[in-house]
Amino acid sequence: MGKTLFEKIWEKHVVKQIEGGPSVLYIDKHFIHEVTSPQAFAGLEKRGLPVFRPQQVVATADHNVPTLNQHLPIREELSRKQVEKLKENCAKFGIELYGLGHPYQGIVHIIGPELGVTQPGMTIVCGDSHTSTHGAFGTIAFGIGTSEVEMVLATQCLMQSKPKLMRINVEGTLNKGVVSKDIILYIISKISASGATGYAVEYAGSAIRNLSMEARMTICNMSIEMGARCGMIAPDEITFNYVKDRKFAPHGEDWDKALAYWKTLYSDADAKFDTELNIKAEDIEPMITYGTNPGMGIGITGRVPALTEISAEDKPSYEKSLHYMGIEPGAAMKGKKVDYVFIGSCTNARIEDLRMVAGFVKGKQKAKDVEVWVVPGSKQVEKQAIEEGINKIFEEAGFMLRQPGCSACLGMNEDKIPAGKYCISTSNRNFEGRQGPNARTFLASPLTAAAAAITGEVSDIRELIND
């Protein structure tokens, strides 16, 4: 019987299979950042252990960093200490750090692919749930907790049980104004915020194959929002062209050898999945969320479910969620006023996202009462945006281009949405308080967010663009 993409990579990384238990899984690349690593390093020190393979670890500072005046010391004391601790630990344990001020600094899931560290066929982990992003290259990539960060630092391995396998096929052509963020928000709205828990998900089908690497990363990034252990897409020419010539990509003979292997990474025709889901690209509208988990999303012309559509068991959580959001059951989302627009995060802060937004807003002005933050995913994205004149377009539109970091996606730094305010956000989570205590989040694509920036309310991008 044939093998799935997941199985081909998994089997190559099993150091040992424990009978009736997990596998000892070898990890090729380990990304670390300031928030989930300090306790892991402390654990190593307590045990008197070195980092086993420091050259396979890459570090950056992203969650806590300010997105203005990055050349100045971090004002907030605890954030500053955490970032300094990372610097100290990396120096002590011999790990490459792309910290504040470094030309490669940025959100960990943006810089890995950008630098060519992320390559097909690898196993990749990071103490961050959005590590699933890297699966877009045909890798097994997943988020881990700090105890597991310590294990990987100490041994380059983890104890892992093999997940079940799910394939989601998206066939057909996307409608006007519909982009990859809408595909994944649509999928999660269909299968719920826990619908893929326990599974590794492979995305396939013509609509996926036609996407750029940036767009594929957006999809894999949000796999965790339906509970998936990881999300992945088989590598193809689009993948190989993206990786080629990047800083840490293989070169010369090594490239040829790697490429020959990468070309074997796909699910065989007779491979078996535990679950398959088929989606028609034509059914997908621009999406918007209305509630407090990413599964609570609808098409932009849709209505928030009425209470009669909710089961008795789900009702208390549903009502609490809508109460928090200040949204009525059965309401339309279109026309809902927004106060903030956040374009950023590991989901949508790549150069293609910024270009998409700039292409739409060029020559337009933001709505008067709306504050618009654009936070590039990395120093390299920022540099490229400036080189392409995208910064000028944003400036003329009244958008604020800030400096790289996780920013208002999780409000660990100063970039918080005030209590009670509505933010349309290209990030990945609309949880209560995610963007700041009592902040209210609508998740959407960069295009839909940009549309709201111009009109001041949730809008249907299709009415604002030409064919």
Partner: protein, 217 residues
Amino acid sequence: MSVITTIEEESRKNLSTAKFQSERKIIQSAAVPVELENIDTDQIIPARFLKATTREGFGKNLFRDWRYENDDENKPVQNFPLNNKIYSGKILVAGKNFGCGSSREHAAWAIKDYGFDAVVSSFFADIFKNNALNNFLLPVQVSDAFLEKIFNAVKKDPATALEINLEEQYIKIVPTGEQENFEINNYKKTCLLNGYDDIDYLLSMKHEIETYEAVRN
């Protein structure tokens, strides 16, 4: 407040040994019910409290934004179960898809640090489950129907004791005797019962890991 402080202090003592004591093969305790679904790790411990560089002290901010109005410790939300004096104990009971969202292990640390030894739900998010197990906090997955029975029993009588037997893998509502078995993989069970960490095991495999690397290259 004094009750909470005592529980926190006790749990810190337990954390310092960081092992699931053998006498804890059986946890018998009243439970605290949080009857909501999809409780994400941002609710368990909001991101602004992740700036510490040690594992201790997260319990006081467990469910911070559900526990206090406007982030004010002097204004506890009265009907939130952690603030409701009728509920106490070492077992947290919550709706399905508990621990979804961020991979922050701080969520498991906060629950443990507050004084819980087990979380009961009808469904757990993957990463949270691993993080819990790595901190000797036992995730007990029950059926939707049994979860409802627990909620009903605890709401009717907050003193209702639950019994969780790890060795025999069952959870019982003590006064009624109703019980259900729960799953846990044998490897993890052995680790919990004996106080082993994954890292101890992985470190013992150094030689095999090096051999794997050599063969692969």
